[in-house]
């Protein structure tokens, strides 16, 4: 199971008005190796609610530094806090780097990479392009970077510096939605049509080995379509989707009126490893999460109702199991439920993990 590690904030730098680059260092000197294009998942408590958010690493693999880019999202608790209150010296908690938005590198290879980034989708693409150019001296990288206007271009100066550093191997095409550009081609949205036009004169798409795309969904679809129309295979196109669809809570089915009351809370009694504890819990919380919140080391693995590790038996009261992919009918009949999928219906619920 992924663990959270403490990272000390070494630097917080504004890159544009509403985005920061945060430099981090593992607090206890442990290694925190990452692959280009990966992301970190942070957790922080906001008024008693744990918020988890993932942000892509923007540093190159060989740079010897761990950096993420955090763009402020309207109403986003974590990103607003990171942009307004985060200071050097503070400690953040993050899981080890994850994600597979990368391809294996080979120092002797001569490859052509094509990257598409929309807005803050630049962060993993920047990590990839820096790593690729440093690790594969014979490879080249073309970046198509879509933004609303000049002011919203993250890492604009750094990209200019990289262009000079990797003269002839890094090609950057800025496409701006609202600011006027000298050439029509570089204005508007990056969609399938725009890509097709770019592939005509500006990008040698036939020789592209791998394409990386990170941006909003419609943009990625348009680009992927254009790439496929121009002969790239599924394997050659790597997506990284924004976390715009952060998982919310699964909507609960209507509850049967006679079984429960309108009360929002329930009195729960949970037995685990021979110990029984009672606590009051929200009916919107799963039995498993309530047990965990009450410092009980309740067993779970997939938390998707799949693995049945979180199986427990309802002794008293009634719960609603909103998904069950593991228990057999006869077990359900005997009162077994998957606690990660079970929400109290009655004002009192007694469950047992030991049976």
């Amino acid at each position: 199971m992924p663990r959270f590690h403490e990272l000390t904030v070494r630097d917080v730098k504004k890159t544009i008005r509403d985005a920061v680059v945060v430099t981090l260092e593992p607090a206890n000197g442990e290694s925190f190796d990452f692959i280009q294009g990966q992301y970190l998942t942070f957790r922080r408590d906001f008024d008693g609610t744990e918020v988890r958010r993932s942000y892509s690493i923007c540093a190159g693999r060989g740079e010897g530094v761990l950096q993420v880019g955090i763009k402020k999202v309207d109403g986003g608790a974590f990103s607003t806090w990171a942009n307004e209150d985060l200071q050097p010296g503070m400690v953040l908690e993050a899981m080890e780097p994850m994600g597979s938005f990368h391809t294996p590198l080979d120092a002797t290879a001569q490859r052509s990479y094509l990257g598409f980034a929309g807005g803050s989708g630049i962060t993993p693409v920047l990590s990839i392009l820096k790593t690729v150019l440093a690790t594969e001296p014979r490879s080249d990288f073309t970046l198509v970077y879509a933004n609303r206007g000049v002011n919203s271009i993250m890492f604009r100066e750094e990209l200019e510096d990289l262009k000079n550093l990797y003269m002839g191997r890094l090609n950057i095409i800025h496409v701006l939605e609202s600011d006027a550009m000298d050439i029509d081609l570089f204005q508007g949205r990056v969609d399938a049509e725009k890509c097709a036009a770019l592939f005509e004169h500006w990008i040698d798409v036939e020789n592209v080995d791998t394409a990386f795309i990170c941006g909003p969904e419609p943009m990625m679809l348009g680009i992927a379509k254009a790439l496929k129309d121009h002969g790239l295979s599924e394997e050659q196109i790597k997506f990284e989707l924004f976390a715009s669809a952060q998982p919310g809570r699964l909507a609960r089915k209507a509850t049967s009126a006679e079984a429960g009351t309108q009360a929002a809370r329930t009195q729960a009694t949970v037995t685990l490893d021979g110990t029984t504890r009672s606590f009051e819990m929200d009916k919107d919380l799963s039995v498993l999460d309530a047990a965990l919140e009450n410092a009980m080391d309740a067993p779970y693995a997939c938390k998707a109702g799949v693995c049945s590790t979180c199986k427990c038996r309802v002794i008293e009261g009634e719960v609603e199991m909103i998904a069950n992919h593991a228990l057999e009918d006869y077990e359900v009949e005997r009162g077994y439920v998957l606690s990660c999928q079970s929400y109290p219906l009655t004002d009192r619920v007694v469950v047992d993990y030991d049976q």
């Binding site: 679809l221 990284e240 989707l241 669809a245 919310g248 067993p299 049945s308």
Partner: protein, 253 residues
């Protein structure tokens, strides 16, 4: 650049999901199920095969069997690692199920899963010796290829990538089975092979199961399943019959 679209529309138009943070809960649940079926089947398959390594008549056969055990376990690891990114307790996972558990040999063919893990039903039946293991490996190998070819198109990009790595290795396991059967046939084991074929064929056929029409439509809309069970079963029959013809084996029904 701030457009957001419905995840179902996005997937229907060829979009890909790339990490646990952008996977909606119901999709996630179905994806986890797909992955745990794969992981549990690989682990149970490897565990069953591990027991017959020493039944191999020669050193080459034992090496082949040991390699199959190693590689199937490695395949489980590849996908379990992805489940780990969703918060699955991967350390606990492997030790949680008794992967060598089997039902009595004479249990009727069927697609009911065991109560405690997600392995395909075929892995609930015990192997009886070397010939039986090789026959099962041939039959199941072709079924695995057909299923993985479908699964490798899954809209969860990390899983699709993992399965594309797994597929050629699994195909090689099937080739090893065919080579093994060729030798066993030459050694006059035809009757034992025929017995095993008729035992395993209905049991492997049962792994092609469709969920309810409604759920299948949802899985297809999300790009988690593509072909239907009858389509996949037909493709499996075709490949298997071609292999049996190559081997000069005709099944006693």
């Amino acid at each position: 650049m701030t457009d957001e679209m419905n995840i179902a529309d996005y997937l229907a138009q060829g979009g890909r999901l790339t990490n646990p943070a952008n996977v909606p809960p119901r999709y996630r649940a179905e994806l986890m199920k797909l992955m745990s079926i794969f992981v549990d089947s690989e682990l149970a398959g490897a565990a069953g095969f591990a027991d017959v390594i020493n039944d191999g008549p020669g050193i080459k056969e034992r090496i082949a069997a040991a390699r199959i055990v190693l590689e199937k376990t490695d395949h489980a690891d590849k996908v379990l690692r992805l489940m780990g990114e969703f918060g699955a307790n991967t350390d606990r996972y492997v030790g949680h199920h008794p992967w060598t558990d089997r039902l009595p040999r004479d249990t009727a063919p069927g697609s009911a899963r065991s109560a405690h893990d997600m392995r395909l039903s075929v892995f609930n039946y015990p192997l009886e010796g070397w010939v039986d293991a090789v026959v099962m490996n041939l039959l199941m190998g072709h079924a695995v290829s057909v299923q993985l070819e479908d699964m490798a198109r899954v809209t969860y990009q990390p899983l699709a990538e993992a399965l594309r790595e797994v597929l050629p290795v699994e195909r090689r396991h099937t080739e090893l089975a065919e080579e093994g059967l060729e030798r066993l046939t030459a050694e006059g084991q035809g009757a034992a092979i025929a017995d095993s074929l008729s035992y395993w064929r209905p049991r492997v056929a049962a792994v092609f199961g469709d969920p309810s029409e409604e759920r299948m439509a949802q899985l297809q809309a999300w790009g988690l399943r593509h072909a239907s069970a009858p389509e996949m079963r037909a493709e499996w029959e075709k490949r298997l019959d071609a292999a049996l013809t190559r081997l000069g084996l005709t099944e006693t029904a």
